[in-house]
């Protein structure tokens, strides 16, 4: 399993995809830094009125699609691409169980995404601190939820790659992420208006893919008890105003376990 994980990690790092994501991330961080510093220098409303935490929340909000995108793009062909190329045939003829292959892939991709997410949000926090001396309250819990977000997507996408062609799986994963994010944004409206239908949509999409719910809970935790946090709740679809419950975090963990179990179950039974 370790060999598969190491090879998967090496593949992810060698492919142009990661280079592109790193370049985009660098550009994003530069722009975020310039924007935040300019705001702080001018004593602008975001810093002066809303407090430093808003800078952190804006950074997290803007950065959150990046790990999700990397998760989808790196995992879409985790199993299927090797089946399509025929390379999997030679691997499966080796004395290694199919479950070990799936778990090794997940381990490699999970390590990559966890490291990338921590570096990304670490950089965001550094920028916020440098510009406005802003810090992240309850950092371990918030960062834990933010790391869980791409891991959920990786688990779901690897599950898809055990039975879908790579292209279809990538499209399905992006669609699912989009639907979950849209559902989560709609749900925020219920913090201000009691619209059950929107709340139901948010819950259903969160159950389909609880990744966006983890971002919402992380944002809510970060904003809790902060001066700017109250204002942040008014940020509408971007906010964590309608906060997912702790049960949703447990659901997300069960979701990941079920997706991993499903991927192993399907792959050990499919013909190659």
């Amino acid at each position: 399993m370790r060999a598969v994980a190491a090879f998967t990690l090496k593949e992810a790092l060698r492919r142009r995809l990661v280079a592109v994501v790193v370049a985009v991330t660098g550009l994003f961080l530069v722009l975020l830094s310039l924007g935040v510093q300019a705001e702080a220098r001018l004593g602008g409303p975001a810093v002066a009125l809303l407090g430093g935490v808003t800078v952190v929340l804006v950074g997290i909000y803007l950065a959150s699609p990046l790990p999700a995108l990397l998760a989808v793009l790196s995992s879409a062909g985790a199993i299927s691409a090797e089946i399509e190329s025929g390379a999997m045939q030679a691997v499966l003829a080796r004395p290694i169980g199919r479950a070990q292959i799936v778990l090794g892939k997940l381990l490699g991709l999970g390590a990559l995404l966890a490291a990338y997410t921590l570096v990304l949000y670490g950089a965001v926090l550094l920028i916020a601190w440098a510009a406005a001396r802003a810090t992240l309250p309850d950092a371990p819990a918030v960062l834990g939820l933010l790391v869980l977000q791409p891991l959920i997507i990786v688990a779901a996408t690897v599950l898809g790659s055990t039975f879908l062609p790579t292209l279809a799986n990538g499209a399905a994963a992006i669609l699912l992420y989009g639907v979950a994010a849209f559902g989560g944004a709609l749900e925020q409206i219920t913090a201000f208006a009691d619209v059950h239908a929107l709340s139901d949509i948010g819950i259903i999409t969160s159950l389909m893919l609880p990744a966006d719910a983890m971002y919402r809970r992380a944002a809510a935790l970060a904003a809790q008890g902060q001066a700017g946090g109250l204002i942040w709740r008014l940020a509408g679809p971007a906010s964590g105003a309608a906060t997912p419950s702790p049960a949703m975090v447990w659901y997300a963990l069960v979701y990941v376990a079920a997706a991993v179990g499903g991927a192993v179950w399907i792959f050990t039974r499919r013909d190659v």
């Binding site: 090879f7 090496k10 003829a93 004395p95 290694i96």
Partner: protein, 302 residues
């Protein structure tokens, strides 16, 4: 390797039908058949990539596809493309790890495998820079890794040039000399004939013939006869047909060209005598042994 009634269906398509084969240890066994005859499906069941719909198989005394069996086999798939972002040595190194080769011996084994297939100098290059033939050599190096006693090679020379084909032939002969067993799937019948000890021909997913190469070709002697004879021509042809099956007949001017099957090469003298005794005039007589290709074509067209 022993298969007993191995059957595989894909929906309504019967890819392999009740195939029973026994391949003894040591030597080169070839599985022959048209495209879509079920050769690759059969091998995939033996290495554990496909589950049989019915029947069972044993590989080196273990159920086909189980971990202990896979520990002792090498497999070259028919269609594959190794990761193009890795070097050849990295691909083989990855497989060496999967094959449980001890870390202290891994580097040497990787170098040996690459050297054996002629990629000793190209091991450090990225797979994306390899030609199709080099990729096939890389696949063969993967299969040879760990010196397995049994190798399944699915079309090992299909992408190779004549030099590469000869190289592979020499590798196969060396493997036989080392006492290993090679299960070969190939379309290249002339090459199979050069290296194989035994073969099976499958048609429509069923075994049409199986045996040693000598057995498959044993009754495949024939003679090409050219004769004239005026009024006695048909009498001469009839005299031949009584003793030997006429496989081909073709008019040639005032005469005829026949191909008759012989029980043994020595029968050719009796053919000449029979023509003369019937009043025919012999213009040409040539004994020949049919090739594996002739036997194959005859069987798959039957």
């Amino acid at each position: 390797m022993e298969a007993d009634g191995l059957t595989r269906r894909f929906g309504r398509t019967l890819a392999c039908a009740d195939i029973s084969l026994k391949v003894p240890a040591g030597g080169i066994f070839a599985l022959l058949g048209n495209n879509g005859a079920g050769k690759s499906t059969f091998v995939k069941m033996l290495v554990g990539l496909l589950r049989p719909t019915a029947g069972r198989a044993q590989v080196l005394g273990r159920p086909a596809g189980d971990l202990a069996a896979r520990r002792q086999i090498g497999y070259l798939p028919e269609n594959f493309r190794y990761p193009d972002w890795a070097t050849g040595a990295e691909v083989i190194g990855f497989h060496a790890t999967l094959a449980d080769i001890a870390p202290v011996r891994r580097r040497a084994r990787v170098a040996d495998a690459l050297h054996r297939v002629g990629l000793g100098q190209a091991g450090g290059a990225l797979v994306r820079s390899y030609s199709k033939g080099m990729q096939q050599r890389l696949g063969l190096a993967c299969a040879l890794l760990g010196e397995p006693p049994l190798l399944f090679l699915d079309e090992p020379t299909s992408a190779l040039d004549p030099v590469g084909r000869r190289d592979v032939r020499e590798i196969l002969q060396a493997l036989r000399a080392e006492g290993r067993t090679v299960f070969l799937n190939s379309h290249l019948l002339s090459e199979v004939e050069m290296v194989s000890d035994a073969a099976a021909i499958i048609r429509g997913g069923r075994v049409a013939a199986a045996g040693t190469l000598a057995e498959l070709l044993g009754t495949a002697h024939e003679a090409e006869v050219r004769l004239v004879g005026g009024a006695a021509l048909e009498a001469a042809v009839a005299a031949l047909a009584v003793r030997w099956p006429v496989r081909e007949r073709q008019a040639e001017g005032a005469g005829v060209r026949l191909v008759v099957g012989l029980a043994a090469p020595e029968d050719v003298a009796d053919v000449a005598a029979a023509v003369v005794a019937a009043g025919g005039r012999l213009l040409g007589l040539q004994a020949r042994t049919r090739s594996l290709e002739d036997v194959f074509i005859e069987l798959v067209r039957a």
